[in-house]
Symmetry: D3
Subunit: 328 residues, 6 copies
């Protein structure tokens, strides 16, 4: 009997069910016959499929591409085999899902916590920012952009590229920061840490498209990068506040210090990773290091998720990784 949930598909099974299209590529065999390489998904599970031209049902490639496009929900039948250790499916039949036939939210990978609880928790961190101008700017920017911010992915490819990834990544950093502030006491300025971490990647809502299936860099993102974009947002807020009330030189200074922390959160300029200024405060150094921890934990967890225990594999950007066997 055919498997109906993509999460359960293994080699040798046939499949009948819904799935979400993540990526479509036209290819040709060496003989010149067209076929499609299609990646379909349910949540985190991705399956590579082939639609050979004997399965086109007489349609042209152009017609097929109106069905097989990023983000469309399909009903497929096919047969799964195994290739290089991965499930692969040959598509036999296909149609677009009809409206209301299936709930798309069950097919999209999302942050493991609810948008509502994440939003509340981030707001609680913002509430602890004791420097008034930092509190005002952070709070206003968060409220202005929270709709996009709470659902946006945090990356094109690497870590946190899922719905709500940006908010979840931001929240994870705030939690680590809280513990470090608790542990090191006055050595670390809690208000600056919370303001900087809440805002540090907010420029990504403009740097990348909000598409959850296949986000891309925008033109503006490539002109300026997310760091300069968020610094622009902060500057516009500062200009706005100055229109309403007088702002002391100490206040301007602390806002520029905030922009420095954000400017340098990719580390020193010499590493060439895209900081736009050198880190010159403890908080600036800390933001970079905390960002690194969350990114690495997520990349490594993701990379080892499908590995066998005891296996070693080479992973791009991380070198070799070993997945230990359980021993406890």
């Amino acid at each position: 009997m055919a498997v109906t949930c993509l999460l359960e598909l293994t080699p040798g099974n046939s499949f009948e069910g819904f799935c979400l299209v993540k990526e479509v590529k036209q290819e040709k065999t060496k003989k010149g016959d067209p076929y499609l390489n299609v990646t379909v998904a349910k949540k985190h599970k991705m399956v590579a499929c082939k639609l050979w031209n004997n399965g086109f049902g007489g349609r042209t490639v152009e017609e097929l591409l109106t069905v097989f496009s990023n983000g469309s929900m399909l009903y497929l039948t096919g047969v799964a085999s195994e290739y290089n250790g991965q499930v692969q499916m040959t598509i036999n039949e296909f149609r677009l899902a009809e409206n209301g036939e299936v709930d798309v939210r069950e097919y999209i990978e999302s942050a493991p916590e609810s948008v509502e609880s994440m939003e509340a928790e981030i707001r609680s961190y913002i509430d602890e920012i004791k420097i008034p101008i930092l509190h005002q700017i952070t709070s206003e920017l968060f409220e202005d952009h929270k709709k996009l911010f709470m659902h946006h992915v945090a990356a094109v490819k690497m870590h946190h590229n899922f719905r709500g990834g940006l908010a979840y990544h931001t929240l994870s950093l705030l939690r680590i920061a809280k513990n470090i502030c608790d542990q090191y006491g006055e050595a670390v300025n809690r208000s600056k840490m919370y303001a900087a971490l809440t805002l540090h990647d907010m420029g990504k809502i403009i740097e990348m498209t909000k598409d959850f299936t296949a986000p891309e860099y925008t033109l503006f993102g490539q002109f300026l990068g997310h760091i300069q974009i968020v610094n622009q947002m902060i500057d516009r807020k500062l200009v706005g506040i100055r229109h309403e009330r007088s702002v002391s030189i100490e206040e301007v200074t602390v806002v520029y210090e905030l922009m420095n922390i954000i400017s340098s959160h990719h580390g020193p300029l010499s590493n060439g990773w895209g900081s736009t200024a050198e880190p010159i405060t403890l908080e600036a150094h800390l933001c970079h290091m905390i960002d690194n921890i969350d990114a690495k934990i997520n990349m490594i967890s993701k990379a080892t998720a499908d590995m066998q225990e005891g296996e070693i594999q080479k992973v791009w950007g991380l070198g070799k990784l070993y997945k230990p066997r359980e021993i406890e």
Copy 2:
């Protein structure tokens, strides 16, 4: 008879005349006696001086420092000797110059062209910017800041650290760019080049103090760097224009492209020299290369000015330099 103009002072002479104080340091002999190391100058000529405590005339170091401070004009008598191939002077007597006694402009190094002619020529380049929104932003920023801009130094230490250095450097780049635009025709966009070059270092009026004798990085300069500062100026202008009229997406795009050229005028991020985005257009690559040419010509001319013909010396940041003998 004593030399009265610092430009003519050589070892063995005595000196009586005016000079400008560039730098003052308190020192102590090994025995603990205080003395002052003072650098005085007329135009480009700098002379290292010593004021031993037998020349203090009973004054305390604190009293002396009110006389010997950066930028003050002094009347000195002293005797010049030679040390490690350089003139060095022991100060015997000193007093502050009185108001009107001497024209300070004769003692400050300035750009080799007049402020008026440089300002007119830069404005003529701005007039050739054919993309209206780039013309408006560049023109307004130039007019807003021209007072500071036309007299500012361009660097703390290296090339162009003289009065008007920023304007002179900017103008030199515009002239090279004009010739390259003439030579390569449509391959290079003249409007973008002129806008970007006029603005590329304008952030330095905030990054560095306007002091012509001993400029320093400001706190804001160290928080953001001159690239982010000028991008902020451009963004505020864009916001202002939007308040007055509707701005098309093509116009916004070209303004962001301008910010990208400026963001990347220190070269690719991987060199770690402080670009805040990658260069992604020909104009961005060109700005970096033209900036480099003018900087190198000025640094090498300066470094070899005092060398003997036929001599080789090691110069910081440039390696060994050879000053050729005349042969033509």
Copy 3:
């Protein structure tokens, strides 16, 4: 109706006409059937073609390779399709062009100016070299080698790899240099610049084969590189002059200074790009920077020629490149 000029070929057309063979590779399908990958061209336009074995007409691969060889002129019929955004043609019929049937010069990419005018202009720069021994050496080497020099490509793959590319590149540098010499006055020595730039890449006539279709590094080129080769040419000239007249130490020195400028025109040794000595004069630094400007303008123009306006692509050696939309 079939397209007859390769410059006009687009996907979906059939083609009947002449073209020049640039590259031929034997391949096999997974089933083991042989076929040919052939690149044909007219001027700058290159089209990738496939000749399947059902189009071999009974000939063996060896027989086919006497027809499909680098530089041969063919008459082809075929059908163009589109693959990964590029035109691709399946060859149906083919024959060698007969003598006189077609003018090969219409199929080869050449410098955009005539050989005669370029030669005259380079000679006019040589005439401005005021240091007699530099003038003599540069002039004699140019006259000795002008036949090869005027038609040679300047590179195996990158910029200026077309007929006359070496002369055109050399001339472009001389023009930039002229403007910089005009602008910076005595700071730059015009005679040394013109001598060095005329000769800087002349070693390439030995480093690379003179083939305009597919130039390759020669064995001697790989043993020594074009810098050491041209320095050898200069040295042989110097030895020759010494056989005819006495040469002063100042003259020898300036010839070695010339060799230093050429030796270092790939920049400092530390970049590992093949300079054979450190740059130690302003002219040496300038040669490197001017060479860079011309190379980058040509590489970027070439890379963006086929891009859509508004598009961003990753280009080897240049990173991402953006082709702006017209706005003026």
Copy 4:
């Protein structure tokens, strides 16, 4: 009246009291007269002193060096002046403190928590190691070496070079690790983290002398480094356990995995900072990042402790640092 506690000494005061000798250097004036540069301290406060030869009291330098030696307690009288912004003292009279006259513990800088409480807390972390062989090895090594371990410095110069610094640094990492384990759940293996962090720097008890005043690298430390030294300790324990009972291959594997985490806690080999193997598990990457956080917080806190608010200074290994003004 003279100041009697070194912690209160400021320029202009005279001093009479006890202090600890940290460093002694013989010097000569240019005239050839010998004198001593002596650094004395109480807790974290260090004062540079000079003993001129008119203060030698007829003793030879050799005799003086028996009094002024690292770690000796002296009673001094002298006068403090100010030099380059720092207190400096000229010593007038001196004698060795007599037994029982002063409590040396009041003069040595120590970790800010008691040895007893730190030892108990580290032990509580060890108790949470749930993999028996890791628990046994970690626990035994800690008990074997706790005497040295609890009092040892953690560095020759940089962060944590004070009595108990090694234990305090170890404990700080364990605390950060605890919070990260709590936050990320099963993604991180708590047992391996606690075992690795407890042991990661234990090799320093052999790599550096236990001297609290001026620790130095030992010969063995320079032959192998602290990573190989602690791996040797772990291996000897493993050999010992094998003599007592049979050890499964899974157990050996997890011990080698522990050695890998420790081997790579300085980051990837390519950074050249002394890791002895590549990190291949999440725990290995995490150890490196957590170690970095604690080290940076301590280095920056130390470096900014004596800076003025609002000041920027260049600090070796950290670049420029800014000490913010209070604003909250």
Copy 5:
């Protein structure tokens, strides 16, 4: 008539004979039909083969993989063609060789000298170690592990990856070292050189599997690397000796010095090639340089073995290589 010895196989021949399987990969054609890529060998000669599914003889891929597995001896018939300048064979028929039918030693590449003579010569070097504790440790480790050591490969891929490669590489280094010791006299300590070179790669018997056909890194190898593994072996010997007799501090020191030489034989830490300590003696620097010489000679000899005279090829890790024509 068919070729029966793989060493003589050239394109166009058919083949009937024995060969050793070195590598097997399952593949699929674009149509989805399975086939096998098999590499077979005799001595140093490797031939890439294809077994299409029309040659499967009705067997499944799983069944085929029991025949085609690393290290199995097969009797094959097939036809050789030429592809990209290399021999390639299509397999028609195949069977496993029967016991005794063929001598596997004639199919495995081995060191060019006999195991017996190499073992005797290495032992003669060990006999010249005049420092007793180094002699004892080296001699015992050699005798303990000589069975594995004498037959082990020295590398997974690069130089010396053949049976006995580890012993042959070790012996080559000892021979170079002997000559350098003879030439430089007392400057170099012969005993330390011989001990360090004999042991330097002994950890590879644990770092890599002993398989001569397709060696792989072991898990332990990836946890610690061969340097830490052999240092562990040395340390265990030292512990053992201490159980039997008292060992002087001078003896312990020289053993640690030996471990330092081995720890640093991949060069300085900054190159990131896996040394586990900095070289701090002449012998440590020499070991690294001698190791390099033997490795390079072998890699280059291997890389040029199949090149034509006069040819230039790019070789991974070595750049371009030229194979000279004979001229003598």
Copy 6:
């Protein structure tokens, strides 16, 4: 009684005897009194001296500098003290040695073998070059330049900076090469190795002054470097031979191959150490590695010569070095 041989001078002695002046520097005390820092030597022993102005005997500094100049032989009396672990002498009286009073050869450091024997041995290697054109060029260049070559230093500062150092270094490389050729048989071409090694540093006779006391880079040396200089010598020989007889293409090729080996003997271009072409033969790689071995042995031997056994010191370019205690 005073010591009369500088080799025996230790702190506390007075001295009366001859010595050679290696370096002279004018200095001033902080009070402005002039004095001289003079380095004197006998063989490898160097002693730093001070001549205070109370020892000037009424002469001016200019008069003193005619006596104290590089390379002059003096008769001195003085008193030795100890400063920072090194002997230091205050000069009381001095005079120039008279002609014939002392044999300067006893004061200059020279190669440890006689010029005659080294010359004969180098010639015997040249005799083994079996490729006629390489033999002719090497032999002629050696005979042309042997006078300078046999006595020249090999370096300005580092290894082999003594009389005959160039010949001794060359000979050492030839000896190592002989053994490697013997060991590796046909893999290495003996003729090319001997020709390349004999000539590899011959350009230094022009790159550096022949002064044995304080050699310096010449102007020509800095324009081209010793590699391009010797390649020029070889090319001039090749041109000369062509005037006398016809030279085959194979012969030209092998001469260029020789120039490639020399061009690349500082290693790959990417290290930035001054190779002028990439190494593309085994012999080219070997020359670099053998050169490295001899250089390192000499630098380390020199650096550790004055160290105590058991001591560790940091040495420029080598990192830390340990001088082992004797144990055998």
